[in-house]
C-alpha cells in the first residue's frame, strides 16, 4: 500500500501536441493518501481512463512523474508497479477454474504454494465465492466473473493500489447495488488504496471518501461527497452531481450585488473578482415556494416518490425546486425563494463568492 503522487502530469495521444486541445490530460497534480477510497468521476471522454492507465503503467505520460511513496515509478512497466486493476468487462481466464484464476497473479510471482492456498481461501471467503472455487470460470454469470476479476486484484496483499475502471458497467442493475456495497466492505477490510473510475455519480459518491471530478482533461474539484454537493467549485460539478443538478442562472453583478431578472438575490458571502460571465448557482433542494420573491410560472411538476420536482420559468430561465409536497399546478403563478447561505456566484464557471463562515 502506498501514497500516490502525480506531479505535473500531462498526456497526449498525438505524437507532437501543439495546443492545450491536443492533450487528453492537461496538467494534473494530485496526492492520494495511503489506504484511501477515491473515485474519479466525469463524463465519457474526460480523461479519467487515461489517468487510470497512466497510474497502472499501461500508458506512459507525455510529461510529468508518478510517485508511489515518493519512489518514481514513471518508467516502470505495470507488473513492476505492484498494482491491480479491474476492468469494465470482466477479464477472467476461461480455461481455468475460479481457484486457478485467483491464484494466477501469485503463481506468476513465484509465491509458495501454501501461501497461495491461504490467500485464495481468504479472498474467496471475502467475496463469498467459496462454493464455486472448482467450477470453470467460463461458466460463471457476469457478476460473479467480475467478482473474480476483483479477487485477482485483491489476492496480492502487497499491492500499492487497486484500480477499478467502471467495473459495474455490464452488471445487472439489481446486482450493482450488492457489488457496490461489497466493494465498500472490502475496502474497509483490506485497507488498500483504491481508485474507482466511473461516470455514475451514485457509484462515486457511495464508494469514495474523496471524489475527484474531472472535465476535459482537468481536475475540476476534489472533495468529499458532501463538499461536492454543498459547495461545488465549478458550475460543471454543480450540474454533474445531484439529481436534478444545480440551477445555473445568468445574473448581473453590480458593485457586489447580484440581480436576477431584476430581483436582488442574497448570496452566501462577498463577491470576489470581477468581469467575465457571471452565473448564479443554487441547488433545487434549497429553492422553496414563498409568498414573496422571484415571480415565476410553473411549467412542470413531477412527483418522483419521496419528493416532487417543480420546474418554474423565471422569464426565460427554468428553475427547478425540490419540495416535499407539490400543491401547485401547471401554469400557476408562484414566488420562489433561494436560501442565501446556499446561493453562490460563479464567474466564468468558477466559484466567486466567499464561503459563509
Amino acid at each position: 500500500m502506498a501514497k500516490i503522487t502525480l506531479s505535473n502530469l500531462r498526456h497526449s495521444y498525438l505524437p507532437n501536441p501543439s495546443g492545450p486541445d491536443d492533450f487528453a490530460l492537461k496538467q494534473i497534480d494530485l496526492d492520494w493518501q495511503d489506504g484511501g477510497a477515491y473515485a474519479l468521476l466525469g463524463p465519457s471522454g474526460c480523461g479519467k481512463s487515461t489517468l487510470l492507465n497512466i497510474i497502472s503503467g499501461l500508458l506512459h505520460p507525455s510529461e510529468g512523474r508518478i510517485l508511489f511513496d515518493d519512489r518514481d515509478v514513471t518508467d516502470l512497466p505495470p507488473d513492476q508497479r505492484n498494482i491491480a486493476q479491474v476492468f469494465q468487462f470482466p477479464v477472467i481466464y476461461d480455461t481455468m477454474t475460479v481457484r486457478e484464476n485467483l491464484a494466477f497473479p501469485l503463481k506468476n510471482r513465484g509465491v509458495a504454494a501454501d501461501k497461495i492456498a491461504e490467500r485464495v481461501a481468504e479472498i474467496a471467503t471475502m467475496l463469498e465465492v467459496e462454493d464455486m472455487l472448482d467450477t470453470r470460470a467460463a461458466h460463471l454469470s457476469p457478476d460473479n466473473k467480475q467478482k473474480i476479476s476483483m479477487g485477482r486484484g485483491l489476492v496480492r496483499d502487497d499491492v500499492n493500489v487497486v484500480m477499478f475502471d467502471e467495473p459495474l458497467t455490464v452488471i445487472d442493475p439489481h446486482l450493482k447495488w450488492k457489488l457496490r456495497s461489497k466493494l465498500k466492505e472490502l475496502h474497509q477490510k483490506v485497507r488498500a488504496t483504491m481508485i474507482y473510475v466511473t461516470h455514475d455519480q451514485t457509484e462515486a459518491l457511495t464508494f469514495a471518501d474523496q471524489v475527484v471530478v474531472m472535465q476535459e482533461g482537468e481536475v475540476v474539484q476534489i472533495g468529499t461527497p458532501v463538499e461536492l454537493f454543498e459547495r461545488p467549485r465549478h458550475t460543471f460539478v454543480g450540474h454533474f452531481i445531484g439529481s436534478p443538478g444545480m440551477n445555473i442562472l445568468p445574473v448581473l453583478v453590480d458593485q457586489g450585488r447580484a440581480s436576477f431578472q431584476g430581483v436582488d438575490i442574497a448570496l452566501e458571502g462577498a463577491v470576489t473578482g470581477q468581469g467575465g460571465r457571471t452565473e448564479l448557482g443554487v441547488r433545487p433542494e434549497f429553492v422553496t415556494l414563498a409568498d414573496t420573491g422571484l415571480p415565476a410560472r410553473v411549467r412542470k411538476v413531477s412527483d418522483v416518490g419521496r419528493h416532487a420536482v417543480i420546474e418554474a420559468m423565471v422569464g426565460e430561465s427554468p428553475v427547478k425546486a425540490v419540495v416535499e409536497e407539490a400543491n401547485v399546478t401547471q401554469g400557476q403563478e408562484v414566488h420562489l425563494a433561494f436560501r442565501p447561505d446556499q446561493t453562490r456566484l460563479y464567474r466564468d464557471g468558477w466559484i466567486a463568492t466567499e464561503a459563509a463562515s
Partner: protein, 287 residues
C-alpha cells in the same frame, strides 16, 4: 391473434428442390449403384452388401485410406501451428495489415489444377527451379517422379503453401477480436508471453480454430486435383489418396458397384470424424 397457414412451405420449397438436385438425388443414385452389379446395357443384378464387404476387406482400400489419414494428419500438424505462428506475428494495426492480408489470401485464389501444374513444373528435376536447386545446387537427390519420399514431401509442401493462409486468416480474425483489457490484465497479473498465449490467445481462438481444423480436415481428406495433377498418384501407388483411387476404380476400371460402395464408406468416414471432432471441441462450451 395468430392465423395458421401453410404459406411457409412455399418459401422452403426452392431450397428443398435445390438440395434434392445437388445432394439427395446424386447420393441416392450412388446408393443404387452400390447394391447392384451391371454388365452394361442398363441391366442390373441385385448384389446386396457384397461390394461394401469387398471394399472393407480390400488391402488396396486399406492402403489408400492409410495414405489419406497420413496425408491429412501431416498437413494438419504443419498448417495449424504454422498458421497460428504466422497470425501471431502479423501486425495488428497500421499500413501493413491490408498488405499482409492480401499476400496471405493470394495462394487461396489460385485454381487447384493450376496449383498442381505450378508445383509440377517447379519441382521437376532439371526443368523446375526447385528440382534444379535441390539436385544441382544442394546436391540432394530429389525426384518426385521416381522417389515416393520426394513425391510425399512435394504434395505436403504444396498443400501447406496453398492452404496455411486459411488457418492464418481465421486465427488472425480470432486474435484481433480479443479486447485489450485481457492483455492489460495479463500484464498486471505478471503473466509471461507464453502464458498470455496459452491462457488468453489460444482459448479465445478456440472457436475459429475448430472451424479452421474442420475445414482443413474435410478439404484435405477429399483432396483430388492437386496431387492428381502433380504426381498422378505415383510413383507407383505411393501418393494415391482415397479420391484418386476412387476415380481409378470408377472411371478407370468402370467398376461402378465397388466405386459406389467406396464413395459411401468414404463419405461416412469424413462425416464421422468431423462430427466426433466438433462434438469434442464444443462439449465444454458454456451454453
Amino acid at each position: 391473434m395468430k392465423t395458421e397457414n401453410q404459406k411457409a412451405w412455399f418459401f422452403v420449397l426452392p431450397v428443398l428442390l435445390l438440395v434434392a438436385f445437388n445432394a439427395l438425388i446424386p447420393i441416392l443414385t450412388v446408393v443404387n449403384y452400390s447394391v447392384q452389379e451391371t454388365f452394361g446395357n442398363n441391366v442390373f443384378f441385385w448384389q446386396g452388401l457384397d461390394w461394401f464387404e469387398q471394399i472393407l476387406r480390400s488391402d488396396r482400400f486399406h492402403a489408400a485410406l492409410g495414405r489419406q489419414f497420413l496425408f491429412t494428419f501431416l498437413i494438419l500438424i504443419i498448417e495449424v501451428p504454422l498458421g497460428i505462428i504466422v497470425a501471431l506475428s502479423m501486425p495488428r494495426k497500421g499500413f501493413w495489415v491490408p498488405v499482409c492480408l492480401v499476400l496471405m489470401a493470394l495462394p487461396m485464389l489460385i485454381p487447384w489444377n493450376v496449383v498442381g501444374s505450378m508445383w509440377n513444373i517447379f519441382a521437376l528435376p532439371k526443368i523446375g527451379m526447385l528440382g534444379y536447386f535441390m539436385n544441382d545446387v544442394l546436391g540432394i537427390n530429389y525426384d518426385m517422379t521416381q522417389q515416393p519420399f520426394s513425391a510425399w514431401v512435394t504434395i505436403i509442401v504444396m498443400d501447406v503453401w496453398h492452404w496455411t493462409s486459411l488457418v492464418v486468416l481465421l486465427s488472425y480474425a480470432g486474435l484481433v477480436s480479443i479486447p485489450d483489457a485481457y492483455y492489460q490484465a495479463a500484464k498486471i497479473d505478471g503473466a509471461s508471453p507464453w502464458k498470455v498465449f496459452w491462457y488468453i490467445q489460444l482459448p479465445k481462438m478456440k472457436t475459429v480454430l475448430t472451424i479452421a481444423i474442420l475445414l482443413r480436415f474435410m478439404d484435405s481428406f477429399n483432396i483430388y486435383t492437386e496431387p492428381f495433377v502433380l504426381t498422378g498418384g505415383g510413383p507407383g501407388n505411393s501418393t494415391t489418396l482415397l479420391s484418386i483411387d476412387l476415380v481409378k476404380i470408377a472411371l478407370g476400371q468402370f467398376d461402378l458397384g465397388p466405386a459406389a460402395a467406396m464413395s459411401l464408406i468414404y463419405f461416412a468416414i469424413t462425416l464421422l470424424v468431423s462430427w466426433l471432432f466438433y462434438t469434442l471441441m464444443t462439449k465444454d462450451d458454456p451454453k
